[in-house]
Every structure is written in C-alpha cells, then in structure tokens.
Symmetry: C2
Subunit: 316 residues, 2 copies
Amino acid sequence: MATLTVPAEVPSAVEDAELLRKAFIGWGTDEGRIISILAHRNSAQRASIRQVYAEKYEEDLLKSLDKELSSDFERIVLLWTLCPTERDVFLANEATRKGTAGHHVLMEIACARTSRFLFQVREDYHSRFKRSLEEDVAHHTKGDFRKLLVPLLTAHRYEGPEVNLTLASSEAKILREKISEKAYNHEELIRILTTRSKAQLNATFNHYNDSFGNSINKDLKQDPKDDFVSLLRATVKCITYPEKYFEKVLRSSLKKVGTDEDALTRVVITRAEVDMKRIKEEYQKRNSVPLEKDVEGDTSGDYKSMLLALIGNESA
Amino acid sequence: MATLTVPAEVPSAVEDAELLRKAFIGWGTDEGRIISILAHRNSAQRASIRQVYAEKYEEDLLKSLDKELSSDFERIVLLWTLCPTERDVFLANEATRKGTAGHHVLMEIACARTSRFLFQVREDYHSRFKRSLEEDVAHHTKGDFRKLLVPLLTAHRYEGPEVNLTLASSEAKILREKISEKAYNHEELIRILTTRSKAQLNATFNHYNDSFGNSINKDLKQDPKDDFVSLLRATVKCITYPEKYFEKVLRSSLKKVGTDEDALTRVVITRAEVDMKRIKEEYQKRNSVPLEKDVEGDTSGDYKSMLLALIGNESA
C-alpha cells in the first residue's frame, strides 16, 4: 500500500553516494538529481547510502544536504533521509515544544505506529536526547493533554486479533456515560483509550454505535471547539481508521488559506512507505479530486517535485 | 553480587534432565536432588534443562514439578525454574488481583528492573495473556494506585549517568511543596517519580535532603498509615536503594507473626541471581544477625533447604 517507487535495478549505494556528491559540488545544486535518487530508495537503501557517503566523504549526508538546500524542500529531504524511527524521534521532540499542533503529532506517533516501532522510537530517543520521550512530553505538557498523551506514548498495546465482547459492551457504556457527562478527561475514558488493543477498541466503538445510535466521534463532535475534545476525536480516528485520519490531515493542510507545509510534509514522508495508496484512495473519495492534483495546485518548485515523487505521480 | 552458586563443572542439560526425571519417578519424590540440581543452575542453564526435558519426556518440566511438589516448596521451585521475565509476568499478573500487597509487587517489578528487562516482561505478557500488562493493571487498580502504578510500569527510563542539576533543584522544590500540602497524588509529584531517570531522581532527592533538612522519605513518614503514602515511600526506596528496600521486605516477612512466605520467596528468587549478596550485607547490618539464621529459624523442610541453597549457605 506504499506509494514509494524503487527502480527495478537499484544502483549500488556507492554509485548513489557519488552521484549525490556530484549534485552538491557542481555549479549550483542539482535538486533534480537529489530527488531522482533519494525519493526512489527505501529506508534500508537510504541508510546504506548515508553510511557509504559518511565513510567516503567524511561528512554526514544530512549535513551536506543541510548546507545545499533550504526551506520546505530542505525539510522534506532531510526528514525523508532519516531512518523512520530517528525521524519520529525528531518529530516528537519538536512537537513537545509546539503546543496544540504538537499534541496532534505526538498522538499520531503514538497511535499510527506498531507497538514494536513505537518502542524503538523510545529507545532511539534515549540515545539522541539522553532523556526519555515520556519524560519530555510529561515535562512540556499540562493538564488533560498530559493525562492523555503520556499513556498513549508509553502504551505497548497488544496487537493480536482477540476481542472480549463482554468487555466491549461494558466499556462502551462507560465511554457513553462519560461523554454524556462531558467528563472527557475522566480517568476511565483515558484508561480505555490508552490501554486497550486496537482490535478491542474497534469492538468497543462498534458496540457504542450499535447501542447508542451515534458513533463515538459523532458524540464527541458536540464540543467541536474544545482543543482537548478535538484531540480525543483525532485519537479515536487515528486508532480505528488511520487512512481516514491522514486523509483529513492532508485535506486540512491543503485547503487552508496558506498551505500547512509541516503537516503535508509529515504525512507524505511518514506514510509513503506504509499506506499512502490507501490514503490517496480516501482522498479521491472524499474530495473528488486526486491528491496529486491538489498538491500540484498548492505547492511549487523542488518541494512540489519531491512530494509528487513520493506520492507516486511519476509523470510529474 | 549474586548468591547463586553453580558448580565448576556443570553437567549437561541432558544429564540434569535425566536425574530430575529419576527424582520424580522413584518411590516418593527425591526433593534433595531437585534442589541440588535446580538451585545451582543459572537461568540460561535452567532454560536448557527445561527444553531438553520437554523434548525427551514430552512434558513440560514445570508440569512434572507441579505434580510432584506441594505448598511453599512447590511455589519456590516452580517460580525459580521459570525464566526471569516469564516469572515477572506471572508475579505481575497475580499481583493485579491482590490489592495492596499486589501494589507493592507491581511497583517492585517496575522499579527494580532495567528498562530493557521491564520491556521484555511487557512483551512476554502479551504472549502469555493476549493483553498488555498496563491494560490489566489499569483495569484492576483504582484512584491514586492506578495513577502511580500505570506510569511506573510503562516508563522506559533513560539509564545514563547524565544529571541536570537545575532540574534537580526545581523538582526537589515541587516535591517538597506537594508533600507539605499532603498532595501526595499530585500529578507533578507522580510525573517526577515516574518519568525521570534514576540518576536524575537521586540528584533530586539529594537536593531535597540538603535544602529541606529531611530526606524525602522522612517527610513522607508523617503519614505512616496511609497505604498510598507507604507505596510512595517504598517506590522512592526501591529506586534509590534497592538493596535496602529488599532488606526491608525480607525483614518484614521474617519478623511477622507467621512468616510471609510469598514475599520471602519472591525476594529470594528474583534477587539470587542479581544482588542478593548486597541485600545480605544490609540484612546483617540492620539486624545484627545473618539472613541465613533468620531464614533457618522461620522456615522448615524442603522449602527451607531451597531458600538456603539460593541465598548461598552451602553447609545447610
């Protein structure tokens, strides 16, 4: 379900590293070459290129890119070149200092990764920052946001398919009760959302829908302007329908007056190797226009070319 | 610092498995032989014996032990034979259903293991119970206990030596303030205890002592009968001086009217391969009598022999 395309015959990491070096040292940077190489290598291949490059030129590839590129194009190339867990470490750390917008990024890292991957991010966070991820998040967030985000990020959810229907029924009732009372920060509601497996939560939300006539997110929509409730809604969606969640992030980032490049970049680079095809299908369904078209209309230059290369519009 | 002793020439796992089988099938069980083998093999060796035994006799060694042994002796041999993370999975799961006594066991597993080990316990918990550890703990605990135990168990503490002294000073102040207000369940107090690295907490507690004239645990002692405060005190001790914490658990279990065999067994089997030598030194210092002597006086039969074999009294 990825949109990343890799050529049938991939050049060796040495060849790639040499061509990248050439793209940097010529008269002006050759952005086209950078895109044609990096945007068409998977994470293992990018890691090899980075390793070879460092050995050969005694400089981290990221450092060279940083010197040659600028603005949105620089950001997308740097973040894309990082290995996926390192990238999440960077995004999560940045998010701890960004308030409400950061809360959504943290939730996304907590809910749209596998348990094993999330744990690896926490391990890499140690190495990079000499602190733990939850330590920084707990330190920089407050109140209800902390109450939700810390357990989301520290959870190690069970990922098997087993579901307990009795529990789904009793916990759907708890959720309904707390939402009716507008007790959105109630510890039972948070406990259920942050500890149950995704399969179990799906069963609980289905039960909620069947028993109370509304989906849980419809009921949560009664308070649309509350930032915490909006984070709760995003959490439910990200856990149950990640592709719809990401479609919505893309839609908001593109439909805004002034594109939200950070969100656009983040979704494209974190999903291109995962489920971007499904997200594009959702986008087409919801907006009656292909994602590529809206990206083309809203962005420009090398940044646009990189985005289109990653979401799979080969003609661009 | 372990007290476990392993012979200079360890028999092969096949020989051990055969001798254990003989101990089971003869006229009456040969408990002495079981002790002489299992109490003198490290966890990797016990795992090999268990594997060979299962292949040879088509029965799990634990099952055979379960059939042949009983009461406290059975419990200690079974728990000892399990691999260390599996054993914590068993103890943690049992603890979720045991109220106050269970809270202390859960805290101990959270605080007296390395971050990596604790994560492995959480992984093994998935395999064994098809649920996550935090899911069960959050489900079975309430109020303040849940507020403390879930983040303790889900933390992945940074384990490096780096310490931020400015932070130690500001967080010591927060702790002092909350304790003075008897706000023991305050989210800031819980955040500090559950997310900071052990090195950082040590610095914070030292700062507390230096600035306010009392150790944090002395200040927490003002409310000695409150179960939650007593769990907080135990947490601080277990994080900063695990050997003193375990000495105290042993002392309480032995000095009680009626020995607390579960606690005694738990400490002996979980520490014999880790730091039991240090714990014994603390015990001697605090009680002016060797641990072995008190164990001998308070226990009997095969259970006593197994305990003494594990804490390193070879003459017993």
